[in-house]
C-alpha cells in the first residue's frame, strides 16, 4: 500500500509574518517550518502504514511538497516524523501559485509516483488558510474526497472517516483509492527522537521539475494564478488601550466603558435574537 502525504512549507506562525510589495508572503528569514496542520496528516499516514504492516502487508509513506529551496525542510521534517521517502517539486515557475495551481502541481506529482492507495493532506495551510486544496486535489486526481476527518480508519479496501461540521457530524466511507484531509483533532503528532532524526537523513528526497511532471508552466505559478493581491497592509495597531488590575470594581468600570462606547445595546435584552 502506498500513502502519499502532501505537505507545505510555511512561515512559522509564532514568528512575525509579513506580505511583500507583490502581495506574496515573505518567505526569507529562515523561520519556515512544516505547516503544523500537516504534522497531523503525516502522523495519520504513518499510523495507517504501521497498522498495514502489523497486518502483514507492505506499506510506504511518501511526503510530497512543491515550493522553493527551503521547502525541502518541510519534507525532511516529514521524514523525521516517520515517512519513508520524499518528493520535492522544485521549479521557479511554481512560485506564486494559488490553491488551484498548487493542486495542479501536486496532482501531477502524485500521478508521477504511480498508484497511490491513499492521499492525505492537512485541513489547511496556516499561511493562506483557504482549505481549497484538498477538494481541488481530489477532483484533479479523480478520487473520492473525505475531508476534515477527526478520525480515519482503513479496513478491507475501504476508508472511513468521522467529521464535525458547523451544522452536523458525519461518518463517511469510500473505497480506496481515496483522498483524506485530517484536522488537528485526528491525532497527536509524535515527537521525533534522535534515532528518528538520524534515520531521516538516510531517506531519499527526489527532486522533480515541472518538465519531469509534464506540467505546462503557464498553467501554474503566477502565470496561471486566477487571483492577484492588489493591496496589502499591516493592520494598524490598536490605540487607546486600557489595562487595569481589578480592585474589586473592575466589572462595574468595564460595564460603563462598554455602554459609553455603545458596544452593547443600551436597551435591556428581551430574549429576542438580534
Amino acid at each position: 500500500m502506498r500513502i502519499v502525504v502532501c505537505v507545505k512549507h510555511v512561515p512559522d506562525i509564532q514568528s512575525e509574518r509579513a506580505l511583500g510589495p507583490d502581495g506574496r508572503l515573505v518567505r526569507d528569514g529562515g523561520d519556515g517550518t512544516l505547516n503544523e496542520l500537516d504534522e497531523n496528516a503525516v502522523e495519520a499516514a504513518v499510523v495507517l502504514a504501521e497498522q498495514a504492516r502489523d497486518a502483514g502487508g507492505d506499506a510506504e509513506v511518501v511526503v510530497v511538497t512543491a515550493g522553493p529551496d527551503d521547502a525541502e525542510d518541510a519534507v525532511r521534517r516529514g521524514l523525521q516524523l516517520g515517512a519513508d521517502a520524499a518528493v520535492h517539486v522544485l521549479d521557479d515557475a511554481v512560485a506564486g501559485s494559488d490553491a488551484i495551481g498548487t493542486a495542479t502541481v501536486l496532482a501531477a506529482a502524485v500521478r508521477h509516483l504511480g498508484e497511490a492507495d491513499l492521499v492525505v493532506t492537512g485541513m489547511a495551510g496556516l499561511d493562506g488558510l483557504t482549505s481549497l486544496l484538498p477538494a481541488a486535489l481530489a477532483d484533479l486526481l479523480d478520487l473520492p474526497q473525505l475531508t476534515l476527518a477527526s478520525s480515519v480508519a482503513l479496513a478491507d479496501g475501504t476508508v472511513t472517516v468521522r467529521r464535525d461540521l458547523d451544522h452536523a457530524t458525519e461518518v463517511l466511507e469510500a473505497p480506496l483509492p481515496a483522498l483524506v484531509s485530517v484536522t488537528d483533532r485526528a491525532n497527536e503528532p509524535r515527537y521525533p527522537n534522535f534515532q528518528a532524526i538520524m534515520a531521516a537523513r538516510k531517506k531519499p528526497v527526489t527532486v522533480l521539475t515541472l518538465a519531469d511532471l509534464g506540467v505546462d508552466p503557464a498553467t501554474v505559478g503566477s502565470a496561471g494564478a486566477r487571483t492577484e493581491v492588489v493591496e496589502a497592509a499591516p493592520r494598524p495597531p490598536r490605540t487607546d488601550r486600557v489595562l487595569v488590575t481589578d480592585d474589586g470594581e473592575a466589572g462595574r468600570h468595564l460595564a460603563a466603558w462598554l455602554l459609553e462606547r455603545d458596544l452593547v445595546r443600551t436597551t435591556p435584552a428581551t430574549g429576542e435574537v438580534l
Binding site: I100, D166, L172, E173, A232, A233, A250, L259
Partner: protein, 330 residues
C-alpha cells in the same frame, strides 16, 4: 449585463441560513443597474417560505436544483449542481457563505468553470475596470489585503456578518421566478457514502460566526461557563470557546474559535480566562473591540486587547453582568 449568483444555504427545514441575505445584498451591488441577482437552491427542501424574503432582497430568479439520488450535502455533488447553474445562468460571479463545506464546493466549481476563488472575504466590490475585488484579513488578522479576481468567472466566499443586509427600496416586493432544474451528477461525485449524519441541535443564541457580540471562555473558566452564559444572555451574545475548553468537553466542539475552528469578527469580543495563544488569535484578531479578563498580566491576549482587566473572571464577570443590567434598566 452581469448575472450574480448567490448560493442559498439552508437548513433541512427550508429556513435560509442567517447570512444568505447579506450575500443577496452584496450581489445587488455587484450586479449593478441592468444586472440581475439569481439564487441557486440545491435540494428538495421547501422553497416557498424563503421566496418572498429573497424577493425583498432583490433575487429575481431562483434555480431550484434537484440531484436525483445523489446527496447534495456531499460537496462534490453540490459543486456539480452549482457549476451547472453558473453555466446555465451565464453568471460571472458566484457568492457563497465562507464555510468549510462551501470552500470545498468552491474549489471544485473553480476547476469546472475556470473561476478564481477568494475565501473568507470581508467585503466585495468592483474596481474601476469592473473586476471583482475582495477584501480579506490574513496572517491571523494582522494584515489586510485586497484581492482581484482575474478570470471571467469569480467565486467569492463571504464571511458571515461581512455585509449589512438591506432589502430593496421598491414598494412592491419582487416575486422571484422559480426555475426548476434537475442535474444528473457524475459517478465521480457520488463515490463517498454517508454512513451516519447527526444534525446539531439548534440553539436559541445567535450564530457564533455572525454574532455582533461574542463571549468566549477558556481554560480559566475551569469548566464553569455559567457566569459567561448569564452575561451572553444579558447582551444577546453568542458563546465561544478556546480549543482547551472544547477538548475538555466543557462546551461543544462547534464553539471553538481559532485557526482550526470558527473565525469570528464581531463588533465586540469578550474573552475570559483565555491566554490568547496564536492559534486562537487567528480566529478572533479581526474583531472590532477586544476585551479580556485574565489573572496573568503577561497573557498574550493583553497585547491585542482594547480593554484588559487583570483579575479573576469569577469576580469580574458577575459584577459586569449585574452592572450592565442595573445601568440598562435604571
Amino acid at each position: 449585463m452581469a448575472t450574480v449568483l448567490v448560493l442559498l444555504d439552508h437548513a433541512d427545514t427550508g429556513a435560509l441560513r442567517g447570512s444568505v441575505l447579506e450575500l443577496a445584498t452584496a450581489a445587488r451591488e455587484l450586479a449593478g443597474p441592468g444586472g440581475a441577482v439569481h439564487g441557486v437552491w440545491v435540494g428538495d427542501e421547501p422553497l416557498d417560505p424563503a421566496l418572498p424574503v429573497l424577493g425583498r432582497h432583490g433575487v429575481s430568479v431562483v434555480h431550484a436544483v434537484t440531484t436525483g439520488d445523489a446527496d447534495p450535502l456531499l460537496t462534490p455533488v453540490l459543486a456539480e449542481a452549482v457549476a451547472d447553474v453558473v453555466r446555465a445562468a451565464g453568471a460571472t460571479v458566484l457568492l457563497a457563505l465562507s464555510t468549510f463545506e462551501n470552500k470545498e464546493a468552491a474549489a471544485r466549481v473553480a476547476l469546472a468553470t475556470g473561476a478564481g476563488v477568494v475565501t473568507d472575504a470581508a467585503a466585495v466590490e468592483r474596481d474601476a475596470a469592473g473586476r471583482v475585488v475582495a477584501a480579506k484579513t490574513v496572517l491571523a488578522g494582522t494584515w489586510t489585503t485586497r484581492c482581484a479576481v482575474l478570470t471571467e468567472v469569480a467565486v467569492v466566499l463571504l464571511k458571515a456578518g461581512a455585509v449589512v443586509s438591506s432589502h430593496v427600496e421598491d414598494e412592491a416586493p419582487l416575486a422571484p421566478e422559480v426555475r426548476p432544474r434537475s442535474v444528473a451528477v457524475t459517478d465521480r461525485a457520488t463515490r463517498v457514502r454517508v454512513v451516519e449524519r447527526t444534525a446539531q441541535a439548534p440553539s436559541d443564541r445567535p450564530d457564533l460566526s455572525s454574532a455582533d457580540v461574542v463571549v468566549v471562555g477558556g481554560r480559566g473558566t475551569g469548566g464553569d461557563f455559567g457566569p459567561l452564559e448569564a452575561l451572553a444572555d444579558e447582551v444577546g451574545a453568542a458563546v465561544g470557546a478556546t480549543r482547551v475548553a472544547t477538548d475538555e468537553g466543557w462546551i461543544g466542539h462547534e464553539a471553538q474559535i481559532g485557526q482550526t475552528g470558527v473565525t469570528v469578527s464581531p463588533r465586540l469580543y469578550l474573552g475570559f480566562g483565555v491566554s490568547g495563544a496564536v492559534h486562537h488569535r487567528g480566529g478572533m484578531q479581526a474583531s472590532g473591540t477586544v476585551v479580556a479578563v485574565n489573572e496573568d498580566p503577561e497573557a498574550p491576549i493583553f497585547e491585542i486587547a482594547d480593554y484588559g482587566v487583570v483579575g479573576d473572571l469569577f469576580q469580574v464577570v458577575p459584577q459586569l453582568t449585574e452592572e450592565l443590567r442595573r445601568l440598562r434598566r435604571g
